[in-house]
């Protein structure tokens, strides 16, 4: 069958889009290792995708698009390096000796270097914001303009941030490798934090009117899946993917039709994504079976108990509280202690939780965190102390940035000030 011009072009476009989504990281990681320069590799991988559009439309889509793209990108990169004679002059990416084969062109046996790329992007010597930006750009293939939009900075600012980070990798000689066993736990934790931060960035856009950024969540999910496929024996990777799936299963019900934020207890549980909950539950069971339970697995277990409960009241709060105790022991963070206080309120009543909050307030580390006064306000509301609740709602409103969350707090505030205002006029 011969393809007409339009048919070939359309098929090539589809194949290139698909290859961009599925193989970008693989192609870039392999190219970077061979050419030893992230910048040149990135440019040449982009060129290879452009070339694919034209060549594949003319000659058909190759059997293994990823291998075709990698080989094309590597050839271009080596040409660029030879032409510019920067092979020696530039600081090459540090790859362990004996591993670089400049003529590795057979396309059949391209080693998977994605883990090197991920660990390099998430190196602890880079600032957290640079780690996230580099991971989005180099591992997920997101354009600098799109990354800038996610983090609400201008495109030149984001471009400068990415360039600075790449320059540091090359000048400070951050090695292009997977850390050794001794360093791995700590380094993997950094990688997982980056993926989790990306997820939370999408889950609650820190400002703006939309609560959720679906594209950012998808990148976080894809990254977690990629890392799990590459490191199947690490329980915390499994735990993180489970956490993202189980939390994201509630995405559709987190706001109402007007974009107003709905609390867990108000959400329509029939709208939760059952397939995601089941997959999350299976992953979670796998992580627990290893006996090495870390903070992501424990958070996922808490999310799972919420996801499988038939109602807010029927949730297994005693089990949740035990998991929070365990979580606090492996991860003594004041934010965990704050969330634990909510579980305390469901097991031992709002007054007991209020005492925990007092302790957290004295601790001071959560100053400026709007969920602290927001939770205090809710506990006071439940204790029927509207005057004090109003003060706390105002404090939370002063600190919150997200429009959906602000609207929710404002509505609760007016209810506290005027108990009739929250109900419909007919009510």
């Amino acid at each position: 069958m011969s393809l007409g011009d339009n048919g070939g072009t359309a098929a090539a476009e589809r194949a290139v889009t698909e290859a961009h989504r599925r193989e970008w990281a693989f192609v870039l990681a392999a190219t970077a290792r061979v050419v030893g320069d992230l910048d040149v590799a990135e440019e040449c991988v982009q060129d290879a995708y452009l070339a694919a559009l034209e060549t594949w439309a003319r000659e058909g889509v190759p059997r293994r698009p990823g291998a075709w793209l990698t080989t094309t990108a590597k050839r271009r990169a080596l040409d660029v390096l030879r032409r510019e004679r920067i092979l020696r002059a530039k600081m090459p990416l540090l790859v362990e000796p004996g591993e670089v084969e400049m003529d590795e062109f057979d396309g059949e046996s391209i080693p998977d270097d994605r883990l090197r790329l991920i660990f390099t992007c998430c190196h602890p010597a880079l600032a957290r914001e640079a780690q996230v930006a580099l991971t989005l750009r180099l591992v997920c293939g997101v354009s600098t303009a799109d990354i800038a939009r996610v983090f609400l900075v201008s495109e030149p600012t984001m471009a400068a941030r990415v360039t600075r980070a790449k320059k540091k990798i090359s000048v400070a000689r951050i090695p292009y490798r997977v850390p050794d066993a001794a360093e791995l736990p700590e380094r993997l934790d950094t990688v997982l934090s980056v993926v989790h931060l990306l997820y939370t960035t999408g889950h609650t856009a820190s400002s703006g009117t939309d609560l959720v950024r679906a594209d950012v969540i998808d990148h976080a999910l894809n990254l977690a899946r990629m890392i799990l496929a590459l490191m199947p024996d690490e329980p915390e990777v499994r735990g993180l993917l489970a956490l993202v799936l189980l939390t994201d299963a509630r995405r559709a019900t987190r706001t109402d039709a007007q974009g107003r934020l709905l609390l867990l207890e108000e959400q329509d549980r029939s709208g939760w994504d059952r397939a995601a909950i089941e997959e999350g539950g299976r992953l979670l069971a796998g992580a627990f079976r290893t006996g090495r339970v870390g903070r992501y697995t424990l958070q996922a277990a808490i999310a799972c108990l919420h996801a499988v409960a038939v109602s807010y009241a029927a949730t297994d709060w005693h089990h949740i509280l035990r998991l929070y105790d365990q979580l606090l022991s492996v991860w003594p963070s004041p934010v965990v202690a704050l969330n634990r206080a909510v579980a305390v309120s469901m097991v031992a009543g709002p007054q007991a939780a209020l005492d925990e909050l007092d302790a957290l307030e004295r601790d001071g580390r959560l100053a400026g965190y709007h969920y602290l006064p927001a939770i205090r306000a809710d506990l006071l509301r439940r204790l029927d102390r509207p005057g004090e609740a109003a003060v706390a709602y105002r404090a939370a409103l002063d600190l919150a940035d997200n429009e959906a969350e602000r609207e929710f707090l404002a509505a609760r505030l007016s209810e506290a000030v005027d108990p009739g205002s929250g109900r419909s006029p007919e009510g």
Binding site: A125, A172, R173, P175, E183
Partner: protein
């Protein structure tokens, strides 16, 4: 092999005659640890306390270190290491933390080849 400056910071005034016995003792062991981890000390210096420093900005001369801060430069050494991971491992073992200090690791500038 790349070279890094390891700049050692300590609470002011960072007097080398006032360091703790614990720190002094650990410093004795440090060069062997550097070699063991695959690094090499190229050169190193400790400085007199920051109270002896004089800052010069063009024509203006002022008493004290260039940047007023709670922590000041106490010394520095040039470290040769295969990559940043090794340099950071070596930096982590620097015993200055025993006296409440820390270090900054910064690659030396290599002029681009012609």
């Amino acid at each position: 092999m790349p070279q890094y400056a390891v700049v050692v910071y300590q609470p002011a005034p960072a007097d080398p005659m006032e360091i703790s016995a614990e720190y002094a003792e650990a410093l004795e062991r440090y060069p062997a640890q550097v070699e063991e981890l695959g690094g090499r000390g190229v050169a190193g210096y400790a400085l007199q306390p920051s109270t002896t420093a004089t800052a010069v900005r063009g024509d203006i001369i002022t008493d004290g270190p260039f940047v007023e801060a709670k922590e000041v430069v106490a010394g520095f050494f040039v470290l040769e290491a295969p990559d940043l991971d090794v340099a950071l491992k070596i930096a982590k073992l620097n015993p200055v933390y025993l006296d409440g200090g820390g270090v900054e690791v910064r690659p030396l500038f290599v002029p681009p080849a012609e």
